[in-house]
Amino acid sequence: MSSLIECEDVWKIYRVGDVEVQALRGLSLTIEQGEFVAIMGSSGSGKSTLMNILGCLDQPTKGHYRLNGIEVGNLKPDHLAGIRNQQIGFVFQSFNLIPRTSALENAQLPLFYRGLSLKEQRAQAAAALGRVGLQGREHHYPTQLSGGQQQRVAIARALVTSPSLLLADEPTGNLDTQSSQEIMKILETLNRDEGITIILVTHEVDVAAYAAREIVIKDGQVLSDRVTRARPTSSPVEA
């Protein structure tokens, strides 16, 4: 079985007017199923571009990106949408919940596009909310929830499809210290107990510390890649 993520000499070149911007310059990277990786780097380092490509929101200009062995580089937008729906969960810095829509309905959203019956959508979304400790808040609106709770709804939304990859882009960036710790604990638990691969982008060293591997990006290339914590050998992956 191949690795979950294989990046091979990935280039991303934007053209802004006459200026060519090389956001990624021949980046190569491999991430295995069940890893918890922190990606760090200053702004402009190319880490956002990398996250967009890893999340199948964007495609490399050159090079190869294989997710679960599938070459993503030349897929059509709708095909990419299908892959995002089936395999990837997103957690954003600004939560990105749909306003004036209940927690349950927000968590349902990915299932909505899977064409499941309403009853199944609700049951699975309620279960996902339960996993992030939001039982009883299903019918709260985002405005009625604290930042930490909103981010947990977002995690439930990412989890509801049982993705193989969870991408968290500065998930604690808008949260206070205590909420940040709660969120990181949830992510840690998901990785340890359910074997979900998590890729985390962060500025904060203490947040990065939850991850087992730290990749630093600079100028569109991997500057350093080190294991900060031994992977739990007895992890019940795909139990």
């Binding site: 929101l57 949408a81 729906n85 990105n96 596009y113 309403l118 959508q121």
Partner: protein, 411 residues
């Protein structure tokens, strides 16, 4: 229906309910357009039906033949001014043209009619008995005169409702009374059932019928004996009217010894011709309604497009999130199309209610007859659906083509 479509409709309704004022203003164009169409078509249909009823009062499958016009040194008289049609023409037509079920003739003049100390000026019509059957006249009391009355130039009269009202006291029985026309006493033997206005707007009940021969000899003092004011014919089938009219023309031209280069000295009109004139009028009306409706629906559609473009911009981030979690282009497209159609259909439904109310009020206040046809409602509803679909297409497509990364970053 799939859970997706269902939930999308629900979401669309919720968004509308949340922005009630905005949605209401957006729908206004559609509401007014649909209401205008329904109200005006209802009024138009009512008017058309009324005109058809009027044309039907002429009789069944009627052909009217007027004499031609006089011409003196190029100055032409009014229609019927020439005395070119005669009783023998009418009798001959019936004999020669099997298609004609019957022919009748009349000659009229406005004269004073006196009863007791009252008098009234009305059209006196000398008629053949067949005229009554051709024109479908019926009686509220008494009955028609006969061929014998015609042959003997009997002094008998049939009077219409308007005449009755002007000569007799309310409740007085006209049948058996003696009225005087030009000092000649006539016994009233029948009161005609009312017909109301003719298609040309004249009061058909303001009328007195007397036998043609009596009129000719004792009332009108005609210089050309046997000349008639108009001839009438009828056929059994409405389809036979044009053929019968053509045959009448041939027979009359032959009888009047007209050369091929000479124009007809008479004019033939069938009931179908009169109907066509009315149809032409209502067609013009329909075209105007169509124009008004198109403009309002167009304006309404542009309103919907505008508000949807605003909505797409406002919800760019939401669209980005939806795309990130796996919405395909057609999902986003559907969402906005359904919103557009919800707007236009709710607007259409309100327009239908308003239109029907308007039509009913018109009947109630102005007393115009209105006919609300189910077809119009279905068509109006269908059109509002099409408008929603058409004007929703551009904003929906714009939303579906957003780049998810840029949409997610949108502030």
């Amino acid at each position: 229906m799939s859970a997706f479509v269902w939930l999308t409709i629900l979401t669309a309704l919720r968004i509308l309910a949340r922005n009630r004022l905005r949605a209401g203003l957006t729908m206004l164009g559609i509401v007014i357009g649909v209401a205008a169409v329904i109200a005006m078509v209802s009024i138009g249909e009512g008017a058309k039906r009324a005109v058809q009823a009027q044309i039907a009062t002429m009789g069944t499958n009627v052909i009217i033949i007027f004499p031609g016009v006089t011409s003196a040194s190029g100055v032409r008289g009014s229609q019927g001014s020439a005395v070119t049609l005669t009783v023998s023409d009418a009798l001959d037509l019936k004999k020669r043209i099997p298609l004609l079920a019957d022919t009748g003739w009349t000659r009229r003049d406005v004269m004073q009619i006196v009863y007791g100390n009252r008098n009234w000026n009305g059209p006196i019509n000398g008629i053949s008995p067949s005229y009554l059957t051709i024109r479908d006249w019926s009686f509220t009391s008494g009955g028609p005169f006969s061929q014998t009355d015609l042959d003997s130039a009997a002094r008998v009269a049939l009077i219409g409702q308007t005449t009755v009202e002007n000569l007799f006291e309310p409740g007085e029985e006209p049948v058996g009374a003696v009225v005087r026309i030009k000092n000649v006493p006539f016994r009233v033997i029948g009161v005609l059932a009312p017909k109301g206005q003719s298609a040309q707007g004249s009061d058909q009940d303001d009328v007195i019928f007397i036998p043609f021969s009596t009129a000719e000899r004792k009332v009108f003092g005609t210089s050309f004996i046997g000349s008639v004011g108009a001839m009438f014919g009828s056929t059994d089938q409405v389809e036979d009217l044009p053929m019968a009219a053509e045959q009448i023309r041939e027979v009359l031209r032959a009888r009047h010894r007209l050369q091929t280069e000479q124009n007809d000295d008479f004019t033939i009109r069938t009931q179908v011709d009169l109907g066509k004139v009315q149809e032409g009028t209502s067609e013009t009306l329909t075209m105007m309604l169509f124009a008004i409706a198109s403009v309002s629906l167009l304006v309404g559609g542009i309103g919907i497009m505008n508000i949807l473009l605003v909505s797409v911009t406002e919800r760019t981030r939401e669209i980005g999130v939806r795309m990130a979690v796996g919405a395909k282009r057609h999902h986003i497209m559907m969402q906005f199309l359904i919103e557009a159609m919800t707007l236009s259909l709710v607007g259409g439904a309100l327009g239908i209610v308003l239109g029907i109310t308007g039509a009913k009020l018109t009947t109630l206040i102005a007393g115009w007859p209105t006919i609300i046809s189910g077809n119009v409602i279905v068509i109006a509803f269908f059109f509002s659906l099409v408008v929603g679909l058409f004007f929703g297409l551009y904003p929906a497509n714009k939303a579906a083509r957003l780049n998810p990364i840029e949409a997610l970053r949108y502030e």
